[in-house]
Symmetry: C2
């Protein structure tokens, strides 16, 4: 397999620099130390320039100079210590002493995922700073982190989707070593680590890809401009670049899985799709290292194809996010939600989300002005990830409000139960488990003024269509970032503590009740009770255990008669019992 970037060997103390630039005639390696010098790189097969040097100490900083003109950082840089515009740095990955030899990963169906933004999870905003909190997460029952993107982005504040060095770990997050320490600490505690990666576009600032090769194509357009070139002239180098990136995260950082951003904007009509190509590489790696790696898709397609295997025309993902579940439930909990999700609001849709998966499976969708989706009946529950909120749903509101700022305590508990008792893999957004009340705003720290202005205007424009009457806080204001930081202390107090225990209890139920462990949707039933209630009926794989989960979305009681075809029903959890009710004074401080 190809290697790109600076590949340092601890054994030989050699470093091989490789860069793909198929249309360039020449390439120079520009070393900044020990003496600044520029070395000619011979051009090999398929457009790769490569040069192996002795005695390059790890930490050496370098650039490449395509056609020996201007110099730019390495597009496959593993580390950008001075940010997106600065030199790349040679990393010796062997120096880190991994402690996770015995780690074999976790079954996907057993995961309780936790989406985490490194910059706002702690005061420090680094990977390492997360480690002291891991035991708390374990105690809650969380066993999988999903880190928002860490690929080097401009400045120090960003959601991560403006990354321009897909192989690098953000310097302000602590660089390569920080991420390794975090992953290692997670594995030591039985937590799997997923990383969000972006293969559908590259950020606008510090993006020097065009200086190297045809990474982009005019053939397709994405919301972020021209698409990445997965099937046009010279696309082999681009396919290698991104497929190797997947392998890089698994091999170098011991990650358990990746979440791929917006796969519907990755276009490839070639005879061998990028997905098939990638799938093959991952399978080889899995068999070589003896453990399973997962790919999760964010997809806007409502297509079962996403999780089908490439042999039957699929994209081969282990699972995909199920946005329709969120929309169906949220709009029932918060009537204002209709403004944003106009095609939702019927209890039958939530029932369909439980039993089928996609709610829009071919029907006309007003928002899209067309019929949308195909049926996902028959796809097992553990091929979907569900959530009550993620970075997008919170951050793309003017006020950045989390669910707990939009619906009352009773409905927060209901929402938690809705995902944790579902046949799907649940995902929480950091702080959700105790109802953290900080907003999660959209923030950037670009350095180019025109770009900052464009981002500001873009955000305003995005909100115009929703007719929200306030203006979003300025994305580039540091305070917007700071206000988005969660407050871990809250979890020990009052209703926050109750909500945390509620999550804990539900997760524990999910782990112990056989009926909740059956991910076959064929054994999931939903009975609608009038206008505002429903029963989620879960059945164990051996069909002997039945669990009825009664949900009341209204403020009034709903009469319900238990079915008589079984012996007796035993109540195991009731959110109306005193220990779960938010009692006055509702302020957490009363319990401090």
């Amino acid at each position: 397999m190809k290697t790109i970037g600076a590949c340092f060997s601890a054994d030989t103390h050699q470093c091989t620099f490789t860069v793909w630039a198929p249309e360039k005639k020449k390439m120079a390696l520009h070393l900044l130390a020990p003496v600044e010098q520029q070395l000619d790189m011979p051009k090999g097969e398929m457009g790769y320039f490569s040069l192996t040097l002795d005695d390059i100490p790890p930490g050496t900083r370098y650039y490449f100079a395509p056609d020996e003109a201007e110099k730019y950082p390495d597009p496959a840089s593993h580390y950008q210590p001075e940010g997106v515009h600065g030199p790349s740095e040679v990393v010796d990955h062997a120096v880190y002493a991994w402690q996770d030899k015995d780690w074999r990963g976790l079954p996907f169906k057993d995961l309780i995922m936790y989406e985490l933004h490194i910059g706002t999870f702690t005061e420090e905003g680094t990977c390492e700073a997360i480690i002291p909190y891991l035991d708390d997460l374990v105690a809650t029952g969380i066993n999988a982190l999903e880190l928002m993107p860490v690929a080097q982005f401009p400045g120090s504040r960003n959601w991560g989707y403006d990354g321009v060095y897909p192989y690098a770990v953000q310097n302000s997050y602590g660089g390569p070593e920080g991420l390794k320490k975090l992953v290692d600490a997670c594995h030591a505690r039985g937590i799997a680590v997923f990383l969000d990666v972006v293969y559908n576009h590259l950020g606008p600032e510090g993006n020097y890809f065009g200086q190297y090769g045809p990474y982009f194509t005019e053939k397709y357009a994405t919301p972020w401009g021209t698409a990445i070139n997965f099937d046009g002239d010279w696309s082999d180098g681009v396919r290698d670049y991104f497929a190797l990136n997947v392998i890089h995260w698994f091999e170098t950082y011991h990650l358990d899985g990746l979440r791929l951003d917006a796969v519907h904007t990755i276009y490839d009509t070639g005879a061998v799709s990028f997905w098939e190509f990638l799938h093959h590489k991952i399978r080889s790696l899995q068999q070589r290292v003896g453990r399973t790696f997962y790919l999760i898709a964010e997809s806007d397609l409502n297509s079962p194809r996403v999780v089908k295997s490439p042999e039957v025309g699929g994209m081969g993902f282990e699972a995909q996010w199920l946005d329709d579940f969120h929309h169906s439930l949220y709009v029932l909990l918060d009537p204002a939600g209709r403004e944003r999700y106009a095609d939702f609001g019927h209890l039958e849709q939530l029932a369909k989300a439980y039993t089928d998966g996609f709610v829009h499976s071919g029907e006309y969708v007003k928002f899209r002005k067309r019929k949308h989706g195909a049926s996902s009946v028959g796809i097992p529950g553990d091929q979907f990830v569900v959530f009550n909120q993620n970075h997008d749903q919170i951050g793309n509101r003017v006020g950045g409000e989390r669910l707990c700022m939009l619906v009352d305590f009773e409905r927060q508990k209901l929402a938690a139960a809705a995902i944790l008792l579902s046949p799907y893999v649940p995902m929480l957004f950091m702080g959700e488990e105790y109802g953290d009340q900080s907003p999660f705003f959209y923030f950037v720290s670009h350095s180019e003024p025109a770009l900052i202005e464009a981002v500001r205007e873009g955000r305003k424009k995005e909100f115009e269509s929703y007719q929200w009457d306030t203006e979003p806080p300025s994305p580039d204001d540091e305070d917007t970032f700071r206000r988005s930081r969660i407050d871990w202390q809250k979890r020990g107090h009052g209703k926050h503590q109750k909500l945390l225990r509620w999550h804990q209890t539900l997760i524990s139920l999910r782990r112990t009740e056989p009926a909740l462990q059956n991910v076959c949707k064929n054994e999931v039933r939903v009975h609608i009770l009038g206008q505002r209630g429903f029963v989620l009926h879960r059945i164990s794989e051996n069909e002997e255990e039945h669990l009825l989960c009664l949900f009341n979305l209204s403020d009034e009681g709903i009469p319900y008669t238990f079915p008589s075809w079984t012996g007796t029903w035993k109540k195991i959890l009731d959110s109306k019992e005193p220990e779960w009710v938010e009692s006055p004074p509702q302020d957490g401080q009363a319990y401090a």
Copy 2:
């Protein structure tokens, strides 16, 4: 199912006018006779405006006026008697008395296809004028016409790919009635009729689609500009428009199949692809009328997916053109061919074309600057159409030369045998069977001067890259069109007559030899003989009959020892025997 356009009922004498314009508020029907008047059309579901009127005689001419402003022809017009800019005409399809009640189509594997350009096949250039020639075609063994596009295009001279009324039959070809007469006459003689249709773009002149609705999308680009909107906002109307078009040709014109132009530029990433959607409609029609309809793809993908069923991620075509076969063989016959097909020229490639199908099945292709294709091993031979020349290969040469102007008589015979003895469905280009020597140029008769100039420049530019030293004749010059007309008289004379009989004999062999009827490629063998010869070994389905086809691409003899594992070999045809050799005087007139 939806109906669009002007739908006249002979029973009720009513005519229903329907047009799709989802973003328009109003629509008027503008009738030109008996009295010129404009009538408001009510807007119904999904963006369709519709109005039913009594006493509209067939032949009535009309326009639509979107938002009651300018008036334009009907995008689903069945007839444009005055050309692309004129009014549309109401057609009573029931008036034609079909004689083909007993026609049940032909098995695809039995077809000998014949690509025909209506405008240049006869002096008259109409559908009807073709009928007197059909018996000659039958005598040659041809049993399937593939008509180049008939959808109304600007002016009277065009290959057909500039069509702008996909439901109409070109007025200068004789309109709807002319095509019906031709199809009926073909069916009466056992000839199936295929039509070339273009669903990847619409022509530049007389294209009023933008006045009606979002037929195009900016999301994808094609060589002809923005792509047709098969998956974006409002795409349901566009999908219906083109799917109904397929049904229109089958139902209204009794066609046997369609050849879809450049399917690789039809983009659709939706959960239910246009192909799946279309497939379902065709299946219903087939079961309703009790006969099979075929779709053939022109595809640049080298993808087995094209002929796989939608259930396994395929596009569901019956067959696809196998350009690689042409390229492999042609470059071996004409060394100058390497200029255009630089990635071909090895005998092993032709062998692979016979045994596997795609020659480029994943290897790096210089012309494309990337790896191309996937293996088509295992796909039956009757899912591929092969040819030694088609309109593109001839017409996209500066001199418009057919194969017979590029290679000698011996090689013309070899080429004919190569396709007719193959496991694939062969297709001839009109006149090929007797070595017609007329060029086939690119020609247009647009009326807009700027467009004509653009076409002229475009053609010149296309040829620049091949460094041909002559200029192409002006596409808009009527003489360019006239010179492209074939000369049917030639077929009765000299070498032309010999070549015609050679084709006849090969076709007859193909029909009678069991070894040639087996389309399973698993039983096709090719043995390469040195640098310039090969044996095509065909085996019957019951594995009892063997046929060895010896091909010598050189001018010298090649020694060959027949395999001894069978009894005796019987020679059944030899192109070196006197009756097949072009003898001096080589001029056909000597035999007149």
